[in-house]
């Protein structure tokens, strides 16, 4: 365990040494944004809409009281989605999707000697391959979370007015009540930390593969499991620190 953490930090030191040609580096970042970011939009939207809808139904059932105004459902939906559900649940979904993609891609490159080929050419393979992935996730994951928030609120609104017995005005009034800008900043800070963990931990497991196809599968599983654990633990720490 300690040796794994040590190897992770040594790899990160190698990753954050200066990249090769700046122009090629940004081209790679754009390619990674396309592969890791844009391709995640459908799953993020789908999950967010249904999670938002489910939250609204739960809140409506549990807040059904004459003492609580109906618009409070909209307010509580917003608070739950922005503060916890969008960054954390979507973080976990992305750990599965992006994490397994990165680990299996790097693992396959390792066992087919593509990483050795880069090293033999005199390039820092860790920096060349991993740094653009981390930067792409740091740039694009906050955008995905914003999209997730919008989609989840839309899902909540659609369910709220269709089967929840509330008007569109009441739900939107609730969403706009007691605005607190820090909520959004908090969500973005968490997302950036999670994005770093997902991309770096998955890269570590993929880059360190030794052996054959079975090891690539194992690395992919370890990448998803350990990224998810890192997200859950850091979520607790960040909640304590930031709130």
């Amino acid at each position: 365990m300690i040796s794994t953490i040590g190897r992770y930090f040594l790899l990160m030191a190698k990753v954050f040494s200066p990249p090769g040609k700046r122009k090629l580096f940004w081209k790679q970042v754009v390619e990674e944004i396309h592969q890791l970011g844009f391709d995640s939009i459908p799953i993020v939207s789908l999950v967010s809409i249904f999670v938002g809808a489910a939250i609204t139904i739960q809140l409506q059932i549990n807040m059904d009281s004459p003492w609580i105004p109906i618009y409070a459902v909209g307010f509580a939906t917003r608070k739950a989605i922005v503060m916890e559900l969008a960054p954390t649940i979507i973080g976990l979904i992305l750990a599965g999707k992006i994490g397994s993609h990165i680990a299996s891609q790097l693992g396959t490159m390792r066992i087919t000697e593509q990483i050795d080929a880069i090293e033999v050419m005199g390039l820092n393979s860790a920096s060349y391959l991993i740094q653009p992935k981390i930067i792409a996730c740091l740039i694009f994951n906050p955008i995905l979370i914003m999209l997730s928030i919008v989609a989840a609120l839309f899902g909540g609104w659609a369910v709220g007015i269709s089967i929840g017995g509330m008007s569109s005005y009441e739900f939107i009034y609730g969403l706009q009540s007691f605005p607190h800008n820090f909520d959004l900043v908090y969500a973005i800070i968490k997302t950036i930390v999670f994005a770093f963990f997902i991309s770096s931990i998955s890269s570590f497991y993929g880059y360190s593969v030794q052996g054959g196809a079975i090891e690539v599968g194992k690395a992919s599983t370890k990448a998803v499991v350990n990224s998810s654990i890192a997200i859950i633990l850091s979520n607790l720490v960040l909640t304590q620190l930031l709130m």
């Binding site: 090769g20 040609k21 090629l24 490159m109 000697e113 080929a117 033999v120 050419m121 005199g122």
Partner: protein
Amino acid sequence: MIEVRHLNKFFGNRQVLFDINLKLEPGICNLIIGQSGSGKTVLMKLMVGLLTPDSGEILFDGRNFAAHAGSQSLHKTDAEKNSEKMLTAIRREIGMVFQGGALFDSMSVLDNVIFPMDMFTKKSRREKLKRAQECLERVDLKGAGKLWPSELSGGMRKRVAIARAIAVEPRYLFCDEPNSGLDPRTSELIDSLISEITKEYQITTVVNTHDMNSVLKIGDTVNFIYEGKLWWQGNGKSILDTDNPEIIHFMEASELTKRLLHSHRIIQKAAGN
């Protein structure tokens, strides 16, 4: 010229290379042969800096990088930093053909060949394209630039790997089992290509193989490794005259070479009489 001096390598407590001394000359094909597990791949990985030796030196035209390179420490000593700089400089003069080709799956054939030029030259896009086309023509793959690695046969992958290796005009060419998994005809083509390129560019070529056809065809110098030790040195012609039991055992594993050896002995005996 590449010179290997007193090279030793351990994996844990197990020693895999014992005091290897070699001189690999430019303009000829230097073959390293031996059965699987003999240590020849480890030796090649040490030479290109993918592994670090436990003791010994590897000199590329007098430049030694092996002493301190490959340190994992975060705080490197000056000697380690200089070794790593030297390693990077030497690696930019190395072309390597890996066993499976090691082509980048995410790039077309043309982009694979352009890749080292993108990294290490200041050529314009047009110049790089021209050079890449030249290299692909050289390996008889003129129209394959737009294909993807997944669309290539084993022999074509090896030829693209050779084109990529020579794109930046290396001084040293390493080929790790270039004809493994290929049919005899394609193997022969790859061997001829390596030999021609070596002579054309006057580069120091090191070929790792256990294919006796390659030994006989392009073995300008042959170094036989057995159980981590350099057992015999000679060339593709003199290997048939050897009385070293380990090499004879190695050669006789191939039925064709066994018959060739038998015929050679009969001819030698007749000539002696």
